[in-house]
């Protein structure tokens, strides 16, 4: 067994949990691998890592890994994560959500988590579709694309997750893809170590529900598309760093050091309790 496979093996739960639910060609397994490599490289004890997941294909990720795992309700993973982080700020809380999960039903919680800069890492696995329910359009489905609920093409614009999180006040915002796995390791590692709220959006192909309906012949085509249709954000010009050819910028969009809400809260508490003594 290759070393890296063995490494991932060490972090999985082996009692009764496999086979997993991901389709062949799905990008989610690559993201899980990247998450495990990041946690391992950072030397975080399994006991200190909490994986909080929403509902959907990405939500099923939590059950496979040997961390503290919480599989919550649809769209609300960040609210649970906020409670856990405030209750025990020593824990490293990582939230795994899909695009429908984080942006549609959970959009409110995402912008508020960013605004209060709670020390949680949000991984948004963007497959541009509701996969588990059978391929309906999400708020990240590109305009014009076909889904089960937009059979004649979507009329609505997709969210730009990075722009939205930046605007809402997240102190670390990055975007990667399931194709750029080495870069993804780097992005997730720095997100986990970042003190405040960190967001990593990951483009993760869904060949079954999205690719099939949108002129991708197979999963490999989707990864090739990610390769040729992304561009490093560092190479783009200020102020908005938007490529004119419509390619997707990837990399770190914002990285500023701001103490997380829990740090500020317990700092205030120390001060208040000092006064009271």
């Amino acid at each position: 067994m290759a070393d890296v496979t063995q490494l991932i093996h060490d972090y999985l739960r082996h009692n009764k949990k496999f086979p997993h639910v991901f389709c062949a060609g799905c990008g989610h397994g690559i993201v899980l691998g990247s998450l495990i490599r990041s946690v391992h490289a950072l030397g975080l004890p399994k006991d200190d890592v909490v994986l909080v997941a929403g509902i959907g294909c990405s939500g099923r990720m939590a059950v496979y890994v040997d961390f503290n795992t919480v599989h919550t309700t649809h769209g609300r993973a960040l609210t649970f994560a906020t409670g856990i982080k405030m209750a025990n700020p020593k824990l490293k809380v990582i939230c795994v959500m899909g695009d429908g999960d984080a942006l549609s039903i959970g959009g409110n919680h995402l912008i508020h988590a960013a605004r209060r800069n709670i020390g949680v890492t949000a991984l948004i696995l963007n497959n541009q579709i509701y996969g588990m329910t059978g391929g309906q359009c999400s708020s990240a489905t590109p305009q014009g694309d076909i889904s089960m609920t937009t059979p004649f093409g979507s009329l609505e614009k997709a969210f730009d997750i990075a722009d939205m999180c930046k605007a809402a006040g997240a102190s670390y915002v990055a975007r990667g893809t399931s194709f750029h796995a080495i870069q993804l390791d780097r992005l997730i590692s720095s997100a986990i170590m970042h003190p405040g709220f960190s967001v990593v959006e990951v483009f993760s192909p869904c060949p079954t529900q999205y690719g099939r309906k949108n002129k991708f012949r197979n999963a490999v085509d989707m990864y090739k598309w990610l390769k040729s249709n992304t561009v490093k954000v560092e190479t783009l010009k200020e102020p908005d760093r938007k490529p004119e050819d419509g390619r997707i910028p990837i990399g770190v969009f914002r990285d500023v050091e701001e103490p997380g809400l829990e740090e500020r809260y317990f700092e205030l508490q120390r001060k208040l309790m000092g006064q009271n003594r």
Binding site: V70, T73, G83, I84, A87
Partner: protein
């Protein structure tokens, strides 16, 4: 040798029902509050915002809505905290999905719902008791739940402590229903010395992590609970799960899990069901009431006695599981049961069900945002 007598730390307060709830929560060891402002429950949140930051590790957080408040409360409970949130009708409606989640993962926590006129935005500053059946059945799926109520400010404090104790003892969300009158009445109360109050906490596992089954059945039906971060790396899910906490669809495992959820509450029915009897020993007419209406009923019963009518009062403190034996007893020796309530008959349904045609059941219903007066109840008794 002189014996140093410990000074009792009983405090007298002139407090709102809502403030008494907050006092009760702190007394019970609540160290986490997440909430969203809503009339007429907001004072609970305001007291917690003032007090929790001054307590070692006490956490107060204002969330973006009631859904998030419940999410954060459950998260904190899973991380080992005694946690609470408070709301009113519209917010309580938003919390329902997460109340079901808390039932499913067996997260101990307390939800206070100060009932106001509804449906919808309704009468935000007027009392009602119209969320009683919602508290029982609000979330989807079959589930057991404990619903308590309080009729005066002292009871607000005491029932909040009881709510936390039940939540911790039975690993379940507990709902405390107040109405706007009880919540906004200011009365003198006595806050007991913390050393005099019985405080229960969840049972934590003692076995090594590799032996731990987070949802294993026990004699009590209540599994030990390992807080997140304690070295027991468990999986918590709202999916129906097996004893390891992993999702399952196997009918035998699903059945065991569901039946245990019910059994853990059902078999302690005697412990959970609480009610107060007043002049019931020789009563021929019994009033069954809860919340602020029970106070009107109390006066009505006294006035009826002065006029020679043999009236009595049963005040329900536990609403669900419904205190059947206490009500059933009445139906065997009274000829009439009067059920006054500020809704169109949500608890009288339960009384009629238990009564089973043995006595007359008179209902008094008000849904105009006004309290039910003693004279209205007196008229029904006589």
């Amino acid at each position: 040798m002189a014996v140093q007598r410990k000074k009792r730390k009983r405090r007298e307060l002139f407090a709102l029902g809502n403030e008494a709830v907050a006092e009760g929560a702190l007394l019970a060891g609540c160290s986490f509050y997440a909430g969203y402002p809503i009339t007429p429950s907001t004072e609970i949140m305001e007291v917690m915002a003032n007090r929790l930051p001054l307590i070692e590790d006490g956490v107060f957080i204002q969330m973006e809505d009631e859904i998030a408040s419940m999410g954060a409360t459950i998260g904190a409970s899973l991380a080992g905290r005694k946690a609470m949130t408070a709301t009113s009708g519209p917010g309580f409606a938003l919390m329902q999905e997460h109340i079901g989640y808390a039932c499913m993962v067996e997260a101990p926590l307390v939800v206070v719902n100060v009932m106001r006129g509804g449906p919808s935005t309704g009468l935000p500053t007027s009392p009602a008791q119209a969320d009683v059946q919602m508290a029982r059945w609000g979330t989807h799926g079959d589930h057991p739940i404990i619903v308590l109520s309080a009729s005066n400010v002292q009871e607000c404090l005491e029932m909040t402590v009881t709510a936390f104790n039940f939540a911790e003892k039975y690993r379940t969300p507990v709902i405390l229903l107040l109405d706007e009158v009880t919540a906004h009445t200011r009365e003198k109360i006595s806050v007991p010395d913390p050393d005099e109050v019985e405080i229960l906490s969840r049972v934590e596992p003692t076995v090594p992590p590799e032996w731990f089954k987070p949802y294993a059945d026990t004699a009590r039906g209540v599994p030990a609970m390992a807080p997140i971060g304690s070295g027991y790396r468990t999986h918590v899910t709202g999916l129906t799960h097996d004893v390891m906490g992993y999702p399952t669809q196997r009918p035998d495992e699903v059945k065991d899990a569901m039946l245990r959820l019910f059994r853990k509450i059902d078999q302690y029915y005697g412990d959970i069901q609480m009610s107060d009897e007043y002049l019931l020993d020789d009563a021929e007419v019994a009033v069954v009431a809860y919340g602020s209406v029970a106070r009107s009923a109390h006066l009505a019963v006294e006035q009826a006695r002065e006029r020679g009518a043999k009236a009595g009062l049963l005040t329900l403190k536990t609403l669900f599981p419904f205190p059947r034996p206490a009500v059933e007893k009445l139906t065997h020796r009274c000829h009439t049961v009067v059920v006054p309530e500020m809704n169109m008959g949500q608890m009288s349904r339960e009384v009629k069900r238990v009564n089973n045609g043995r006595t007359k059941v008179r209902t008094i219903n008000r849904v105009d945002g006004q309290i039910i007066t003693p004279s209205e109840i007196l008229k029904a008794i006589l």
